[in-house]
């Protein structure tokens, strides 16, 4: 589907197109199989995988906010063993061209490392997206907001794998460049920017939080300008590739990330609005690229021109 003007090699992997499905919004692929031609995409990022299964948070887990949504799923997932036994084989069998990144979470460096180590022998895993930025579990952003802890984590994971190691950053810091540089220095191959913003909704009549977990992560169109900005800041700070994510629901949105410096982009919340969005965005980007004097996606990456003051 994606024409060759969209093909790029990023983190040493071939991506036939720049659009990936974001972690937590496409399950383990299987659930969308009948609805989305997954293998035509750039790839997908699995729901977080932790060492042990996690049941997740109490309900409600989801609510709508102005221009976005809040979720506090709580990283509910089947755990490493079942992921390996039940989910990965499906992905391996069904995706030949789309790249599969596994989103990894843990409570400790050892936890993260164990998940990565446990997947090293497995085919069908193109790389890892390390989630140090989940706002809706206790300590979920610990590694994402502490430079030392982050450095230690990335260094350790670098020892565990030669596969692409992508760190997913939290938007919730004064200077994302700092954390981006730490990741780069410790050997990360790329960054994903951004995860959700912590947020909260209150049912005023009942005087209770709408979300069972009290607070959750805000995603969707409302965070688009923040995500574009943070991608631009991260891209300015490092030379490793960046996956832009946050609020994308059109090719124009995606192109903002690409011009800001993202090599690839992910779509999350918009999949719920319309599962066809991933294909639509891919097509829209392709049309845009073909209209350029130099019809090559890679030439667009980071091509934003800043007027001199």
């Amino acid at each position: 589907m994606a024409g060759s003007v969209l093909a790029q090699t990023v983190f040493g992997l071939r991506f036939q197109g720049p659009v990936l499905l974001a972690s937590g919004t496409c399950g383990y692929g299987e659930e969308y199989a009948g609805l989305i031609p997954l293998d035509d995409l750039g790839g997908l990022v699995t729901k977080a995988v932790s060492l042990e299964p996690r049941p997740g948070n109490p309900t409600h887990r989801i609510a709508e906010t102005p221009g976005g949504m809040i979720n506090a799923i709580g990283l509910a997932n089947v755990g490493l063993a079942r992921f390996r036994a039940e989910k990965l084989p499906w992905l391996r069998d069904h995706l030949q061209r789309a790249q599969v990144l596994v989103n990894v979470v843990g409570d400790s460096v050892d936890d993260f490392a164990a998940v990565v180590a446990g997947l090293e022998g497995e085919e069908g895993v193109a790389g890892y997206e390390i989630n140090v930025s989940c706002p809706n579990v206790k300590g979920g952003t610990l590694y994402g907001t502490d430079e030392q802890a982050l450095a230690g984590l990335v260094a350790r994971l670098r020892q565990e794998t030669e596969r692409p190691l992508i760190v997913k950053l939290t938007p919730n810091v004064p200077d994302i460049g700092l954390y981006a540089r730490v990741c780069e220095q410790e050997g990360a191959d790329g960054l994903s920017a951004i995860n959700t913003f912590p947020g909260m909704l209150i049912d005023v009549e009942r005087r209770r939080p709408v979300i069972g977990n009290v607070s959750g992560g805000v995603s969707g169109p409302s965070i688009l300008p923040m995500g574009v900005y943070l991608t631009w800041k991260a891209a300015a700070a490092v030379s490793i590739p960046i996956i832009g994510v946050g609020g994308i629901r059109s090719a124009a949105d995606a192109l903002q990330y690409i011009l800001a410096g993202a090599d690839l982009i992910q779509i999350g919340t918009a999949l719920f609005i319309d599962p066809a969005v991933a294909a639509d965005v891919t097509r829209g980007i392709e049309e845009f690229v073909l209209r350029q004097p130099e019809p090559d996606l890679a030439a667009l990456v980071g091509s934003l021109q800043i007027p001199s003051a």
């Binding site: 937590g24 919004t25 496409c26 399950g27 659930e31 969308y32 609805l35 729901k47 049941p55 997740g56 309900t59 409600h60 887990r61 989801i62 609510a63 709508e64 102005p66 221009g67 976005g68 949504m69 979720n71 799923i73 509910a76 969707g220 169109p221 629901r249 059109s250 919340t269 918009a270 999949l271 719920f272 609005i273 319309d274 599962p275 969005v277 639509d280």
Partner: protein, 249 residues
């Protein structure tokens, strides 16, 4: 959208052309109704609605009560306007051809039963319908119910303004081997669970939880099972055997 009528206070009957969904739907299944990525206003996310009717001509009927932004938007739909439909989704009500079945509907929980009773009656099954509302202004036209279902509903209103006075559960008489199907507000489902457990009647309920994807990817829509685990109401439900759920709270 092909047709829209105000059928009771804040309650709309909405018909949509969607041959694929009309063909495939079973009673208890739902559709996600959304407005696409071009829509900038609320609702951002699609909303789940039970399939309340379908026609051979490819139409799907929904019974929608205004509640918040999503249902208000549906109430403002105009003829010919397009919505995004995903479905049919979820697990339908399931029962054998020989079981007597009583459907207990609270409010717009009536929706799946309009479909179910109509279909079952045409197949000659022994299915009856109890239907409760707060007051008469919210009651869906009894004549329409009869024409959709092929049988009358026993109507209950809390103030007695239409049908019997009282809560719909008062219309339920213990009958071993009769399967009860429930759809409505959570407190009603709770009461129904107590009643059917006391009288040893099998119960299936259609639950309502906030949904994200509608297809099992996001884990937003879970309900607590009796064994303490979480079940996705969009794929493992919305219809559950009541005995499988945690009614603790």
């Amino acid at each position: 959208m092909a047709d829209k009528q105000l059928v009771a206070e804040e309650t709309w009957w909405i018909e949509l052309d969607s041959p694929d969904i009309a063909r495939a739907s079973e009673p208890g299944q739902f559709v996600m109704v959304g407005f696409g990525c071009g829509n900038t206003g609320a609702p951002l996310l699609p909303r789940p609605f039970s399939v309340a009717w379908r026609s051979d001509a490819g139409r799907v009927g929904l019974l929608v009560r205004e509640f918040g932004s999503g249902t208000a938007r549906l109430a403002r739909l105009h003829l010919g306007e397009e919505v995004l439909l995903l479905g049919p989704l979820g697990r339908p009500f399931q029962f054998g051809p020989d079981e007597p079945v009583i459907c207990v509907a609270g409010g717009v929980g009536l929706a799946p039963f309009l479909f179910l009773v109509g279909q079952a009656r045409r197949a000659g099954l022994d299915v009856s319908l109890l239907y409760g509302e707060r007051d008469a202004s919210r009651v869906f036209d009894p004549a329409l119910i009869e024409s959709l279902c092929g049988t009358e509903a026993e109507i209950w209103t809390e103030d007695g303004g239409a049908g019997n006075a009282g809560r719909v559960l008062e219309g339920l008489t213990p009958a071993v081997d009769t399967t009860v199907l429930g759809c409505g507000p959570t407190p009603m489902l709770h009461a129904l669970f107590q009643f059917t457990r006391e009288h040893d009647m099998p119960l299936q309920v259609s639950v309502e939880e906030h949904m994200g994807c509608g297809v099992g990817t996001c884990q937003g829509c879970v309900v607590r099972a009796a064994d303490g685990s979480w079940r996705k109401s969009c794929t493992e439900g919305p219809v559950f055997n009541a005995a499988d759920l945690d009614w603790g709270r």
